[in-house]
Amino acid sequence: MTNGWTDIRNADVILAMGGNPAENHPVGFRFVMEAKRNRDAKLVCVDPRFNRTAAVADQFVQLRAGTDIAFLCGLIHHALEEERYHAEYVRLFTNATFLVKEGYAFDETRGVFSGWDEAKKAYTDTSSWAYELDGNGFAKADPMMRHPRSVFQVMKKFYARYTPKAVANICGCNEQDFLKAADLITSTYTPERAGTMMYALGWTHHSHSVQLIHAAAMLQLLLGNIGRPGGGLNALRGHANIQGGTDCGMAYHNLPGYIPIPKADHQSLDAFVKAVTPKPLRANETNFWKNTDRFAVSQLKAYYGAAATRQNEFGYSFHPRLPQSAAGANENWSWAYIFDAMYRGRVEGLFSFGMNPVSNGPHSRKAISALTKLKWMVVAENFEQETAAFWRDDILALVDKKPEDVQTEVFLLPAANFAEKDGSFVNSARWIQWKWKAVDPPGEAKPDQEIIARIFLKVRELYAKEGGKFPEPIRALNWWYSNATVPSLDEVAKEINGWALADLRDEKTGAVALKAGQQLARFADARADGTTLSGNWLYIGMYTDAGNLAQRRSFGDASGLGRYPDWAFAWPANRRILYNRCSADAEGRPWDPTRIGVAWNGARWVGDTPDITADSPPGAGLGAFMMLPEGVARLFVPGQFADGPWSEHYEPAESPVANPLHPSHSANPALKLFTTEFDVLGTPDEYPIVCTTYRLTEHFHYWTKNNAYSVQLQPEFFVEIPEELAREKGIAKGDRVRVTSARGSIEGKAMVTRRIRPMMVGGKTTYQIGFPIHWGFLGRGQQKGSLANLLTPTIVDPNSFAPEYKGFLVKLEKV
């Protein structure tokens, strides 16, 4: 989230789309109801189903799963066409004034950007997706935004195609409903109004998901809603600590703190730092990533301690580098690619710490088949689950195998749960909150830190005894914890924040700012000369000499806006609203004096922790987006995405219609398909129904099927079917039905409903159905092997590599 749960109460308009917060984040949803009650805020809900959020919405629009992006593009068009955008904000804080490089083009009839090679079916030259630069390498701009190649004019032209009629035709909604929703949503373009957007997996689980979020960001920027109390673009996030996992480097492509992983090309620390540090695109920009060297060296010091010296580039060569293919492309080891490689026999061992890929990854049958190729697998868990038990008869039957055929050695380690160990979670509002251990784990279950430490120390012992491949990093790893086999998480938290290894002098005054051994307090404390260590720069300030600030529990709130600055610690730097410089005008006066984000008091920015140098006056011209080398937000995105600089509507990989805008390139042209015999797509003649998956408030993912109350509340898998479709198929409420995709099938009870209506798409009646995900093979009550992901495809977004779980094709029959 750019803002936070408690800030949603400050909104005038809330768009809930690509998420169903009333069902899935019910307690956070209180703040929507509070905004409605206290501010007369309007809630707009756009979803494939009339869901629990829709039930309390002021305006609901049903759309076809997989077409949210067209709806958002339509809203962008509406804002631009009706001049419902915040012009001064757009000029100040976005790249609308920048000039797009000559040579950039978009082919409207084919739906591809310049650089597309039709023969190779790929973007082979994306150099035109860029700004026009001057002699100093800075971007050229037209402050009046009238130049035909200004981002603003290019944008207007690009989105002109998304008329209400075109949107209704693609999304299967009613044009008048779209317009009513559009008027409400864009009503926040005036300075005194603010609107927020709440989204979740309904936006991120598509083959164009990153561009979907890009479209929402563009809209919020046009409306002047980013950085403001009651505004923002808020990813609800589905799990207690996926935010923290991402922050701490649990993704193949990032180190902790979103530093890109070194690649084969980066053969020295200097080459690495040079390659990943952006050059400023305007004079005097903060360009905060210029500090990458400080953060990377401090991290290497945290990893390798005294073994990281200036002579050995702080142990840079101990750290692995991402391999590159013969053609020079970086290897992809994201989730679906790991399982593809596993299926092809390229992965021999797997550790799964609380993960259940058979259930929660795409295409369960491919996942099961991949696991059978493993030599060994270690699963640390609270409950026995489908992945650990994939070798059971009933699960292997899905891929026509028997336990005797599968040689995988499996270890299922009993692990402590959340209540049985301490440590911190980061919620969707970026609050790092500490929790305390309440009770010991049952039986012989052990906390994860002990499992990790004992395995690592045993491997280290084997290397010490026997030697082996490149033992240096294993030997050098800084395992300094007082109790090596059960590291204290308090000590780990201290290391993540980091401390000074020598006396540090203030870079301006020369006075000693921190003594050796003191915890770092500010980002500026991190050094590139090996005199600091910090496991994750992003969390600097969380654990200072004042103690572990994630443990703070004071609910004082001087702002009156629900900021609670002394409750826990929010990254970065305890900032509660990201990009908050945008909450004030060019002179630093808040757009809305009743909802102050930050304000310039003549000497400093006051309010929230300012997202700009605290004493830099408004006139100094520092941009509001310090993490970007241009200092302003990107409407047009130069060279960052695989599928283009603008968000365009592409159909899901499986779609009932060819893309009405450009049928020849219907789905995202930048998609890369997997090619095993499992990676198949269905066509609408055989699979005519659009299908989507979702969650229920009574269950959490695949865990609560072990809890008696949750199972009593929602005992079994069901399929939601529109009344009209049920009539056509002779299906009555409670009948057993089978849903089949090109990948597999699933059976369950029919729930015939009016919550999903038939739609007119491309001039023909189209049905969609849906089902919840929470069942499987192991748990209480009626599991019956109802794994939702038996049906989902292995299609992934070309930027985020997130699977397309929403909007695939199926057929439906009565059993």
Partner: protein, 194 residues
């Protein structure tokens, strides 16, 4: 005096505030009520492990942390002082006790031998020794010191690590440190991708 919302609720429960607010004395009625189960428990502040609203919860355990008492969880409730949930919980959160005290919880190491149809129980030391051996064998067999162009990689792609959505920051960091920075593992992913 700073009165937290929780203190206020406690005071109300004891009758003092209730009497003054309601204008009549509830004390005789309270005397008839059996002492609350949570009256003698130890309270621990925690965070709900389900969605990322991250509601504050209070876990009640029996016992007073005496050395020879083995505490068990008897109740989990919303934390009234938490600014997000202010004491409330959803239908999942309210049943958290069942997630902790549950007869389906794993309490022993289980092992499935190649080709087997059943789990066997094993001691921890045996499992750690065997896992470490397998890790080392895989790493030694597949570690990539250099690529085809002679560039140093020091990477291992034949071993994957996937982490869960309820691993704390500290656990995630330790996983990254031990497996990526230590052993050189490249395929490291978690729930956020999917």
């Amino acid at each position: 005096m700073s009165l937290t919302r929780r203190d206020f609720v406690k005071a109300s429960t004891l009758g003092g505030v209730a009497a003054s607010v309601l204008g009549f004395d509830l004390a005789p009625a309270w005397a008839q009520v059996r002492a609350l189960k949570i009256a003698r428990t130890t309270e621990t502040r925690s965070t709900c492990p389900y969605c990322s609203v991250s509601c504050g919860v209070i876990i009640h355990t029996t016992g007073d942390r005496s050395r020879n008492v083995k505490p068990t969880v008897v109740h989990v409730e919303g934390d009234p002082d938490h600014p997000i949930n202010q004491g409330t919980l959803c239908p999942k959160g309210i049943t958290l006790k069942q997630n902790i005290v549950n007869d389906r919880r794993l309490t022993k190491v289980r092992y499935r031998a190649p080709g087997s149809r059943a789990w066997e129980e094993k001691p921890w030391d045996w499992a750690i020794d065997r896992i470490a051996r397998l890790v080392k064998d895989t790493r030694d067999a597949h570690f990539i010191e250099q690529d085809g162009r002679g560039r140093t990689l020091n990477a291992l792609t034949a071993l994957g690590v996937i982490g869960g959505c309820t691993d704390t920051n500290e656990i995630n960091y330790l996983l990254v440190k031990a497996f990526r920075a230590g052993l050189g593992v490249i395929p490291i992913e978690q729930q956020s991708r999917i």
